[in-house]
Symmetry: C2
Subunit: 457 residues, 2 copies
Amino acid sequence: MEQNLLQADDAGRDPAELAAELARKKYPADIVEALNKLDVEEAAAVLAHLPFDRMVEVFDEPELNDPAGLMMALPEEQAKVVLSSLSADRATDIFQLLPGPVRARFLSLLDPETKTSIEKLLTYPANTAGSLMTTEFVSVPSSWSIEQTLQHIRQVERTRETVYAIYVLDPQKKTLLQVVTLRRLIAGEPQASILTAARNPITTTPLTDREDVARLISKYDLLAIPVVDDKGHVLGIVTVDDIIDAIVEEGTEDVQKFGGMAAIDEPYMQIGFGQMLYKRAGWLSVLFVSEMLTASAMQYFQSELEKAVVLTLFIPLIMSSGGNSGSQATSLLIRSLALRELRLGDWWRVVLRELPTGLTLGAILGVIGLIRITLWQKFGIFDYGVHWALVAATVAAALVGIVTFGSLSGSMLPFALKRLGFDPASASAPFVATLVDVTGLVIYFSVALVFLRGTLL
Amino acid sequence: MEQNLLQADDAGRDPAELAAELARKKYPADIVEALNKLDVEEAAAVLAHLPFDRMVEVFDEPELNDPAGLMMALPEEQAKVVLSSLSADRATDIFQLLPGPVRARFLSLLDPETKTSIEKLLTYPANTAGSLMTTEFVSVPSSWSIEQTLQHIRQVERTRETVYAIYVLDPQKKTLLQVVTLRRLIAGEPQASILTAARNPITTTPLTDREDVARLISKYDLLAIPVVDDKGHVLGIVTVDDIIDAIVEEGTEDVQKFGGMAAIDEPYMQIGFGQMLYKRAGWLSVLFVSEMLTASAMQYFQSELEKAVVLTLFIPLIMSSGGNSGSQATSLLIRSLALRELRLGDWWRVVLRELPTGLTLGAILGVIGLIRITLWQKFGIFDYGVHWALVAATVAAALVGIVTFGSLSGSMLPFALKRLGFDPASASAPFVATLVDVTGLVIYFSVALVFLRGTLL
């Protein structure tokens, strides 16, 4: 298969020779894959030997590592021509990665039209439709016929990111009226008006979050979605391949955030040591400081602890069960909210489901715990003292309470975060565990006080 | 906007009236959204009043809830015609959801050609290219001209899932030679051979996992990928809209598995109570039983615990720090492996990164811990005894050890699972926490034995 051709390690090879070999590859993605294995100096040397149109194709691939570094390593004249030849959305992505002074310098090199278009795109915040969109789309006036439109597409095809959706504009006001797909155009009568093959467009706005853009594209099975301003002018289009990259990135962010760290947008081996520490130490320290409340809770129950050291044996077991059930519930609800299966107002339905679920799960673990303590006691593996049956009952009852509390708070945390205006995906597993740990200890010792008063306590 | 038109609650409305209103909607996705809010009987009643082609469009949407239930609620004759009119991949999805006897009955109603095609598709395992693909694609012999091909597309356009990629076959052997995109076709010379606009295809095989299919489509920016058998015949194609749904589902599965539960492929509010318990209780019980090792570890150190109850105060704090750092590392590595940024053989590079990272993170938490204990002692908030400084040193040193161990084992767990042939995404946060908890306790008490021997112990 094409994508497996390059298996040897290309580091240290002659750049001209390697470039000649890569230039023969059919797909730019395969050239990118090979370049990504080299360090930036080597990759730049190889790039410089590639034919010009291949070089542009390589920079057009979002999978290329460190495109800004590679662009800066090119001779200035070459960088200028490449930047002018890239699709506008991709050029903007690369400009965003360039250091301030270099960015200004490169911008000044471009022709006025490209410069304006990129400066405009640079103003949209990251992860919005505006930052993802390209300005290279096909639009025609509504007065045209199907044949005229096809003729136009033949002329501009090379310079457009997609020609599969054609936007039909009001001839005077230039506002978006309709959209035509290329397949309908092909199937239509050549002499008929373009409007005979058109339908109402699904649109989005430049500040819409990329997750919502992805939802529209996926819901309506679109190949591209037009981004319109409040007057109805098309600013650009977001294409399905850009949105796939965005969905994959969102998935990675969700998993990383759920793991209890700040999201990282570079591959694991590329991120610097300092950056890695920064992304991890923040949350870890916050969680550590919050978790110190467990020490305070334990200190509060110190006299009980000293009287009944046997209780401490089950602290890790009980606490982890609360954290685990909370983590399950959170993972379920984060995605349900992210996929808009549930809305904020549905929180009480979730409570009505999590309450019986938590009680049942807690009862299951409680029974397993009872059996474990009884077996160990009966077979003489460990002696939990004369009141072992009461200790077992304490553990079982505490498990029911803690698992129920874990399921409830784990499921409500994403709702609470969303209500407060945060991303529900910030509800990480460690966050939930910390929340549940302190309460879990209090539940455990309270149950113990009820069950063991007059015997151990 | 189109998608917000339906805001009122449609439950309990007259089916014929609601159907008439829905039939006027431009996009089937909007009809589906409205139907999904009704229960299955109501939805079926509304469906029965929809025009036939709208009914087919509705069943063609993967977002439709309980399509099998709705299909069974239709009169048999109607169900037969709908099933024959659906795209083959969608009909197969619905057949897969039908109970065995109904499936056989419905299959027997279909015309032989459709029946064979669906029976074939039903044999591919879930989540493979074979199970996602449709058999409705455009293929032409390599002897045709561009004009001939366009003429053919015009005729078959209505019955094909996509016409944007056209597969060029060997006229005799019917094997796949090349692929042509519709845009190249439009731009080409009408009289020229189809081969002048063609390029080598990127292909996949029927048993390829959908994640790998998604990676190919995303890497090469494809709108569809042909699925070929080992002789080179095209069995079907997987289109980009099917793969977006698959990527979103994979993202949900990854988060749910990472949360420590079996993946659920239905929305939260649709899954039955028993099913929900089943998906959650399994892992929860396994983790609970594993976590019992912490009780065993505590029992082993019981005499130390009784001599120095002050040590128990920090058990939850120390254990959770190990779990949290492990969870971070696991979330990072799961995605890196899933996105193929790292291969199995790269494990040692990860160790070389996680070792210094873990040591530094542990030192940061250790210092915070030292400060906390010192402050509480100095300001008289809590008395940790005469040897408080040694206790603080024990906690700090244990934190360095445990966070390092957590980062290392959290990062290695996905590699280990992958090596053993499991999905690296099975390395859930609770799984890592459990793994780290037992070792964490052993590290803590071992450090205590070194630091406190001759004083507290």
